[in-house]
């Protein structure tokens, strides 16, 4: 039985697409047949982050409208085996997604894949609702910042009331907190909400903490999921989060500020 995972947040720009690309790559690297779907109709970006933008011929909406077969729209990832991408349409708007159409596509994908990762658009409108509706598990991507935390809480409320599992009175969607763009130095100084603060407020289990890391931009510049930059801090943190998602014990890393040497203390440096 395929598992449907939604990567969502409410707020934009917190790292949903980065996370979708990293997590789906991570799952595929563990040998699971994985497909990642871009639900951001009209503003597709997953293709760019995953480096397959020039190979998009047909998209999700084409498949829903019967203009293309699913296998024509699926793009085989060039970095990772077992991984496919279903891009969003760039020319339609979010109303092009119909509940029946999405359900049909997911049903077919569920026969072929073990994990279906849904990259949600920002907001709480149709696209976001479609992305989370079928979810079995949800990755709540949150920045340690007031507006992001509030929006995440709002999304949790929607997951608990408007997802398929909620409507059918099934076991609720399993929620995971993924704290992204974390700066341990600033949190220690009291300038940034700490991991514990966010965990307390949202009251859901912590899947991982992804430190703020220039590698994320370097990776997306090249169309490479950051998890493939294995020596990078963000990449390793995503690899850890994937392991935890799969139920393996994996201690949290990067939660403490790197120790500064005497020279750095005197001459300053980025904090």
């Amino acid at each position: 039985m395929a598992k449907v995972i939604v990567v969502t947040s409410g707020k934009g720009g917190v790292g949903k697409t980065t996370t979708s690309a990293a997590l789906s790559t991570g799952l595929a690297r563990q040998g699971y047949r994985t497909v990642v779907i871009d639900f951001d109709i009209g503003l597709r970006n997953l293709d760019l982050v995953m480096g397959c933008e020039r190979r998009v011929v047909y998209d999700f909406v084409n498949v829903i409208n019967g203009e293309a077969a699913l296998h024509q729209a699926l793009i085989k990832d060039k970095h990772t085996d077992n991984l496919f991408i279903l891009p969003a349409s760039q020319t339609r708007d979010k109303d092009a997604l119909t509940p029946e159409g999405v359900a049909q596509v997911l049903e077919i994908l569920a026969q072929e894949f073990e994990y279906i990762v849904c990259d949600s658009p920002a907001g709480i409108e149709r696209g976001a609702l479609m992305a989370l509706y079928h979810a079995d598990e949800a990755i709540i991507t949150t920045n340690p910042e007031v507006s992001s935390v509030r929006d995440s809480d709002r999304i949790l409320g929607i997951l608990q009331s408007r997802s398929r599992r909620a409507e059918l009175n099934m076991e609720p969607v399993k929620e995971h907190l993924l704290l992204t763009r974390y700066n341990a130095t600033r949190a220690e100084r009291g300038d940034m909400l700490s991991v514990e603060d966010v965990k307390d407020i949202l009251a859901i289990p912590l899947l991982g903490v992804i430190p703020e890391d220039p590698s994320v931009l370097k990776a997306s510049n090249q169309g490479l999921p950051v998890i493939l930059m294995e020596e990078s801090v963000a990449g390793s943190a995503y690899a850890d989060a994937t392991q935890r998602f799969l139920g393996e014990e994996c201690p949290m890393r990067f939660l403490e500020a790197p120790k500064k040497g005497l020279l750095q203390r005197i001459f300053g440096g980025q904090g």
Binding site: E145, V146, V149, R150, D153, R154, G157, S161, A187, G190, D191, M192, L193, S194, D197, D200, I201, L202, K260, Q264, R265, I266, F267, G268, G269, G271
Partner: protein, 87 residues
């Protein structure tokens, strides 16, 4: 951190993260409670009900009160119209 800040950091600073945490705890608790108690359509429904009542009886806006309450299995919509005295 520059050399001056080593000394400065020993002073007590306003901790903005603590303020953020406190504000969030309050607003999130408030919004969680509000999620099911008042549906979005309540103000519009109140206006419609008021219009219907007014077709027959002249009542003031504040003489109609509508409350919506969620209990475990049921939601209760309570409508209270104060009719004017009959002269």
């Amino acid at each position: 951190m520059s050399i001056l800040e080593i000394f400065r950091s020993r002073e007590k600073k306003a901790n903005s993260a603590a303020i953020a945490r406190e504000r969030l705890q309050i607003i999130v608790a408030h919004e969680r409670n509000g999620q099911h108690t008042t549906p979005d359509y309540l103000p519009a429904m109140k206006q419609d009900i008021l219009n219907v009542v007014r077709k027959y009886v002249q009542v003031e806006q504040d003489h109609v009160s509508i409350t919506f309450e969620n209990q475990q299995d049921v939601s209760i919509l309570e409508l209270n119209v104060t009719l004017p005295d009959n002269d």
